[in-house]
Structure formats: C-alpha cells, structure tokens
Symmetry: C2
Subunit: 420 residues, 2 copies
Amino acid sequence: MITASICTIGDEILIGQIVDTNSSAIARELQTIGVKVRYMLSIGDDRQEILQNLQLCLDETDIVIVTGGLGPTRDDITKDALRELSGSALYREDATQMEINERILSARHIPMLETNRAQALVPERCEVLPNELGTAPGMCFTGLGKSGKSVLYSIPGVPFEAIGLLPKVVASIKSRFPLEEISHRTILTFGIPESELAERIRDWEDALPASMHLAYLPNPTLGVRLRLTQVGGHTDFEPQVTELKQLLGNAVYGEGEDSLQHCIGQLLLKQGKTVCAAESCTGGRISALFTSVSGCSAYYMGSVTSYANEVKMGVLGVKEATLKAHGAVSEETVREMAAGVLQKLNTDYSVVTSGIAGPTGGTPEKPVGMAWLATAYRNEKGEISVTTKKVQFRSSREINIERFASSAINLLRLKILGAL
Amino acid sequence: MITASICTIGDEILIGQIVDTNSSAIARELQTIGVKVRYMLSIGDDRQEILQNLQLCLDETDIVIVTGGLGPTRDDITKDALRELSGSALYREDATQMEINERILSARHIPMLETNRAQALVPERCEVLPNELGTAPGMCFTGLGKSGKSVLYSIPGVPFEAIGLLPKVVASIKSRFPLEEISHRTILTFGIPESELAERIRDWEDALPASMHLAYLPNPTLGVRLRLTQVGGHTDFEPQVTELKQLLGNAVYGEGEDSLQHCIGQLLLKQGKTVCAAESCTGGRISALFTSVSGCSAYYMGSVTSYANEVKMGVLGVKEATLKAHGAVSEETVREMAAGVLQKLNTDYSVVTSGIAGPTGGTPEKPVGMAWLATAYRNEKGEISVTTKKVQFRSSREINIERFASSAINLLRLKILGAL
C-alpha cells in the first residue's frame, strides 16, 4: 500500500498557539484514495530540523505532504530547505503564480512589494501547483528519499488555502502512484447509540461480502456515520445500502458529507415550510446550526433564546403557573415554549430545548446533562401538535449543549417526516 | 533548555477521524514552565511503529509525553510496548487506580469486568499518576533514551482525562528537571489590529528590559493577546504592565485565560445590570458566547435571532419603512433592533448585529464581510442611548460570524465602561 507522512512546519503549533486541523483534513483525503498515513509530524521553523525530519519521512514513506512555513515573512527557511532537499541550485519565478498574485493584490489595493514578489519564486526543480486563494504556490518535488521515488508536496499552512489546493495534490498523487481502486459510501444515522446500532445491524454486517469493510464513526453533532469501503474495483454498494436503510428506517438522515441541519433545510424547502427555535439550555446553538447553512433564510425565520423565565413568559407566552408548578426544565414548559415561539415567529414548525448543561447545578430528579426537547407543527387548519422527548447525557457543559442541540433538531426532522 | 516530544497514538488520528487537540493543550503547559517542544508526532496502533518512534523521541528529547492508545479494548499494544521500552518484565496491579476504578464503575452501575480490571495493571518499572477521571492511570517511566536520563509520561487520549492529568505531569517534570524559572503575564486586548497595536506600543516594547520578551497572539474571538515572558527568576511585570495599560486604555479587557464574555459578565454583575441580544448575521453566536459562561443567567436574559425581516418587525418592532428605505443591513435597522430587543426583553443593555456573512450575496455598497453592530443602554429615567459601528472583514463565513459576534460584544463592553 502506498504510504504517506504529513508534516506541519511552524513554531505556533509547537507552542500550542494553534491547533493543527490541516493534517486531519489531508489525512481524510488520502484515506479516501487508498493512501495509508503512517506519520503526522509537527516541527519548528528551524532549517536543520526541517531538513533532517523531511529526509526521514521521505526515506520511510512514498509521499510527504508539508504544510506551513511559507508565510511572506519567513518563507526563506522552509522554501530554502526544500530547495536544498530537491537538489535545486537556484530559484525561478513562476509565471502562473505571479499572475495570480498580481490579481489578488490589485483586488485588495495592495502594492506589489518585494516580499510579495518573492512568494512566486520556487526552487527550479519543482512542479508548481498554482494557488488561486493565496500568494504562495503549492510545490511538488519528485525523485526523493532512499528509494529515489518518493514525492514531496508543499502547500501553504493557511487552512482554506491548504484545503483549496488538496484536489490538485490528490490528482497529482493519482497520476504518479499505482493506487488500489478504493470506493466509499457513508450512511449518516442519528438517534441510535453506537452499541445498539451494532446490535441491530449485526446480521447484515456479518453478511457483507469479503471485499466490503464497515467502520463506525461516532460524533456528537453528526450522529453515528457508517462508512462502507471496497477495494480493488468493486464499486457497487447498492444492495447493502438498500438493506441497511430498510433496517434503520428513519434513523438514516443522509449520506456522505451531509449534516442534520442541511437535510432538514432540504426537507423544509421541498415542503415550502418554515421553522423557528426557542432555546434555553442550548443558548443559541440550534440557531447557530441552522444559520451555518448558507441560504437558510428561505426556511429559517429566527429564534428566541429564553434564558430567563421572564423571557419565557413575556416573549414566548409560557404561563407563570406552569413554571411554578413544573419548573423551567419540564415537559409542560417545553410544550408551551414550542407552541408559543411558533405563534410568535409565525412559522410552520418549531424546535425547543430546556435543560441543565452543567457543570454544576441540577437536582437528583433533574441532574446535569438532562434536558427536555420539543418540536411543534401547525397544520393548515391552524391546529398545533407538539412532540416532546427527554434526554440524559453525561458529558462536559460544551458537549452536553452540542448533543442537546443535535438531538432537538433530529426530533424536528422526525416530525417533518411525519414519523412522530 | 529542557526539550520535549509529544506523541499521540491512535489510528483514528491518522485517518483524520478526529483532530488532535491534546498535543496543543500539552504544548501550552510545557511552554509555560519553560520546556521547549521540539516535535509533535502521531503514529498508529502498531507495536513496531510505537517502539521505534518512541525510542527516537527519547533519544532526541529529555521528555516524551504519550497520549492515547490506552482504551479498554486495545491497551495491550501501547501498554505492552511501554512495558518493553521500560525494561519491565511483568505487570503489577496499582492499588490506588484500582480503588478509583471500583468507585467509578459502581457509580455508573457497571460491573467490574476483566477488561476494566486490566486497566489498573501497569508495567512494574513505572510510577503511577492516578487518574481520577477515568480508569486508565497516567504512567511515568524514567532512565530512558540514549542519555539514560530521558523520562516518558503516558496519559490517556480522552481529552478531559488528559487535561485532568496534566497538573500531575507538570509537577513531576518540575521535580525531575532543572527548569529555568519562567514567568508569564498575558494582557488581553480587543479592537486594535495587530499591526496598529505594534505601532502604538513600539517605544514601550523597545524599552522592555533584556530579561523580558513579548509575543503577539492574535485570535478572532479573543482579540490580540500580548504575552510577556521573563526567565531566570525575574517575576516583576508591574511597571511594564501598568505602562502598557495606560498606552492602550480601554482596548485592554482582561488578563490571562479570561474572555470578553466573562469580563462583560463581571462588569454587569458589579453594576447589577442585565443584557440581551438581537442577532441577524451572527445567527445565535453571541447568545452562545454569553451562555458559554456558567452562571450567566444572573445577567443574561436571552436573545432574539431575527433572521427574517418579519421577526425584526413582529418581535423587535423594527419599522417596515426603515427596512424598505435602508435595508436589513443598515445603521437605521440595527438602531431600531437594539432599542426594540432591550424593551422586549426588558434589560438594561442590548447588543445587536446585522450583516453579510457570505460566502455569496452582498452588493458593492454592502459586500460580504460587512456588518452593522449596535449596543443600547437604558438609564434609570428610561432614556435609551444607542451606539453603532460598521465593520468590514474578509474571512470565511464561519470566521466572519465569529468576528462580527466578538466585535459586537466588545462594543457592548465599551458601552458598559461608559466609553461610548
């Protein structure tokens, strides 16, 4: 199997100032095309460390992907180490990148300074992968390592530039290495815990053909993703996926890179319906999920974060008697919140939370991690039906909030599907 | 200077399924006590890779911190590699960890199975750092590497367990290595771009004593943090900090690990005042910031996300004529939103956003990345004063939203301070 190392360069990672998210984005891409990542390595802006460690990686793996170290104020260290490593004597100016840089700078009304010009210089023995999103190009160096066949890719460290260049890196890898054909299909589920899911699909999993492999990828916001993989030219997943969807029914909400909030948006667009939210313990998280989808204004009207009981009563119309008798975290309160916000914001659907995120607070009956969720629908006759659900998690404040929010919008999804 | 490597073990990192946040948390701690991190490395659950790479790290650095590879289903690979590396023939059961594990399992009503029992087994030549938050203990192995003086710490990969054990690791490092005494003081600023800040404090920076070093740490949510460091027993920052605060005035909002939302909460508590928010382009982010502070219900009443113009009018009382004449993204609209939400939610202060987060949309006059912010205050006589501000950023949708939200609550902070 073709192997790779991913190497990030930059003191800001080693002092813990920024978290390296590039490496995992690159790893996911490589995994998809059947390249095995053996190492991820972070080193500082130090010429000797760079030379020594990149050489080690090139000796050990077929592909080395380097990110970072190319900013306008310090490109000399990494780029010059790459020049030496690639056996280049000189630099050349890359015309394509120079053109892009002139375009970028003039759009930002920034004059072309010597430091900007230097960004388009590359070691002469290098193939350029032009970077449309920034001024430092991607570079590909070949014929390296003790095998004489290893390839090094250098891409900028700025995350959106690195991600933007990945398709070019992947295309280059595919053209240079004999990769085993590999296909994936990922089925997204929500609402069934991983262990229960495994139980429910055990017979199906046991009956998978030998060429097919299943992985469980759990995530508090996305639910449990089931990724099927086949190697060696097998690309048909249809019979297995059809059967899996039958087994799991409404727990399946989408495929691939989709999200709950995006799927819900698509369902609402199809029905021509609108939604709003009233949030207590999730404190704006549900609204942030909805508005993370570009174009959500077609179906998402807004929300009320009713942190204080006065807001629950004054804006959402929750009765004081209900709050007194049952408390803010109760089925009765979320029922009234769901109907109230739907009427106030005049939507077809609503989704609601009230719970105890922690880390402190709560009582034996209403412990930290407990929440009541609700979703309401108003039909053409103006009749409102509300569905509620109680959940109990045992995570940190932050993860509890994330799971309350995702569970609530999943309840909304089931309501839209008519399953509640 | 004492050097360290941080090594994470686990296939889930190499396939990009999870982002490694432990390494940067550990790096920040080590940086604080004057240990220089030379490498961060991620490798898979493979005995040979583990043995070979940990040996390399032990040969190259004084300290190696290993996270991960200790789950109940796979602890055999990493732990047994550590047993071999440390020259231990056998395992022993650690009584302290066993006691903790019995307590944890019985609290969760889980029977003690063989896999749980195995978690308290450690290589005999190891010092245990008991883990109160999980069943796998931290371990310390000494006398390793080619120097015969390197030390390896193994801690679990679950982030809150890893963070929980860090103080014990730090204490152990301090007791074993002659660290240069190092002191930090971090001043938090918001609202002045990094380049302008550097200009404004240049003379002050040039006059710093030779023992003192300054670092700029910019962050879209936290602003620019200025970290002062002194080594070798110098611990007095007072004269420099006092002068810096005079130079920067209200741009300084706090120190150390503080956040804008927490500082604002403290100011409101002191004044006995309350706040609410009305969000358009930030879609719930401001509310999520406020509610990330445990105990915020003492001053934070709630918010309205008025994504749709109908909500701006129906809930917040923005005039239709205003929206028609000036649009939703306008100074006039945010003024009405700020006064409207303050009255609706009956608070002393309000904070408001309306802008274009992108990635598409916008016009030449109102481009992507532009937003109007507002903050309002109602005094004892019931008079409402509103302050507005226009901002323009050039980031992704996600970062634009983050910067709109932080800039808006900073405007609120200045209003509370009476600076507007």
